[in-house]
């Protein structure tokens, strides 16, 4: 019989970490990620994880400690959120440039000012260029399963790149669901102990984290770029192997829902997807040809999948829980770049929604599809629109 447990997103991540058994956990608590750190500390104390738990004085130290542990070939885990993620920004580049396969959970939360503990994607998306693989999940089961998959991706010797696992703050981190738990034996069979030739070793001394002159630096950056691009294939393979072993697959880099014959598609990340699917089902009953495309991986970016699933589409809306002030949402910029390569004339609209924890309702999603429909019928539409503003912004 399969074991099931009633877990929050945070607790599901902690259970995933218990199953992959890292050697070192170094994390600093921050709302809304705190539950992960608390649970892992308890697991280390009661012996259900045989890991060293490092109490660090900041997020900068947490990731620095994880880098040090990873340099001796240890499997390492850390977790953060929002301001904490920004505080470790310097170390993010150290970890990716050093090719340390660290897995980090990030609870997506707004950035100050105004101070807010609630969710949006501005924290992780502002660090899209830090060289990390970024995955966004939508429920507790996917959170647990992806902890396991993230290690399989990061530790693949063709990838050797850290992975950031993003959960929507509160909406996912604090929501309880029934989650299926694989056994430790099953997980360890799927994910063998990490073994790398690129580590500090008494028998085989290495110079690690060295500098390079302008004559060689660019080659290392090319290598990093190639590794993250090559990760696309590994991500799909790991997901397929996971599905084979555990019966749950997530579609690799994207998850497409009713996209094949859809005239209009909404593109989104994370926990918003569930709401979008419900609205798609309702609109389908009313005769609308609509679909939703969840981008799971923002890096490497699933350009080919986006082009594939929008091949029969006339209009695409991108929901951004993010805004690059003075231009548009970052997810939109990426999706637009992919769609532009097709040369097809598609209506593309960007909706900025859910900033600072504002709820994204079914009515909001329905409004997006109405906007797309009116745009397709020739009505002029705002290219970038803040959805669900509570006040008029008419000039």
């Amino acid at each position: 019989m399969k074991t099931k447990a009633f877990l929050s997103g945070n607790e599901a991540v902690a259970e995933g970490v218990r199953l992959v058994s890292p050697h070192v956990i170094a994390a600093y608590p921050i709302t809304p990620q705190t539950g992960v750190v608390e649970r892992l500390a308890e697991m280390v104390e009661d012996g259900s994880i045989r890991a060293g738990f490092l109490n660090v004085e900041s997020e900068h130290s947490a990731l620095s400690a994880a880098i040090g542990a990873s340099a001796v070939g240890a499997r390492t885990f850390t977790a953060t959120s929002s301001q904490g993620l920004l505080y470790m920004a310097e170390c993010l580049h150290y970890a990716s440039g050093g090719r340390f396969p660290i897995v980090m959970m990030n609870a997506n939360r707004s950035l100050a000012l105004p101070w807010s503990i609630y969710g949006d994607h501005r924290d992780s998306l502002s660090l899209l260029d830090s060289g990390w693989i970024q995955v966004y999940v939508e429920d507790a089961q996917e959170s647990l399963d992806m902890v396991i998959q993230c290690y399989a991706i990061a530790e693949n010797l063709k990838v050797l790149t850290p992975v950031m696992l993003n959960l929507d703050g509160f909406t996912l981190t604090h929501t309880y669901e029934l989650v299926e738990l694989p056994t430790k034996d099953e997980v360890q069979e799927f994910l063998p102990a990490f073994d790398t030739p690129y580590k500090m070793d008494f028998e085989n001394p290495k110079n690690m984290g060295f500098s390079s002159t302008p004559a060689d630096n660019m080659e290392f950056k090319y290598q990093q770029h190639k590794a993250v691009l090559d990760a696309k294939k590994i991500i799909r393979e790991v997901d397929a192997a996971f599905k084979e072993r555990f019966g749950r697959g997530y579609g690799g880099l994207v998850d497409a829902y009713k996209c094949d014959d859809a005239e209009m598609i909404v593109v989104c990340l994370g926990s918003t997807t569930g709401t979008c699917r419900t609205v798609v089902d309702e609109l389908r009953e009313e005769g609308w040809k609509v679909g939703v495309l969840k981008i799971r991986f923002m890096r490497p970016f699933p350009e080919e999948d986006i082009i594939h699933y929008t091949r029969n589409t006339k209009a695409v809306a991108v929901i951004d829980r993010d805004i690059s002030f003075g231009y548009e949402g970052t997810v939109y910029t990426n999706v637009n770049s992919a769609l532009a390569k097709t040369g097809r004339d598609i209506l593309k609209l960007n909706f900025i929604a859910g900033l600072g924890g504002r709820n994204i309702s079914k009515d909001n999603i329905r409004e997006i599809f109405i906007e797309l429909k009116e745009g397709m019928e020739g009505k002029k539409k705002e290219h970038v629109r803040f959805l669900g503003l509570g006040v008029s912004v008419d000039e």
Binding site: G98, R99, N204, N207, M208, G209, A215, D216, F220, Q224
Partner: protein, 102 residues
Amino acid sequence: MNRPVLKKHIKPKHIREYPVGPCYEAGHLVTENATWRTQKPIIHIEKCTTCYYCYLCCPEGVIFKEDKKVKIDYAFCKGCGICAKVCPKKVIQMIREGETYG
């Protein structure tokens, strides 16, 4: 004492010949590193008692023993003057770079 041997850096022809990330065999030195030195330590070897206290204190590890004498690897010495400061017999003298002793 093993002194690092300078190896000539040959630019690889293919990206596959590059190390995977900044991780390579230890002791692989391709450049000297002493160009910012303005002062240079000189050991008055005839008065040196070979106590090796300078060797212990040198932050760059450039002081070494050869033919029962204490020597300095000037290719890597930064000229910090710690050896001259700590020498119990005061037989290490700092001179301006470019000047010659005696």
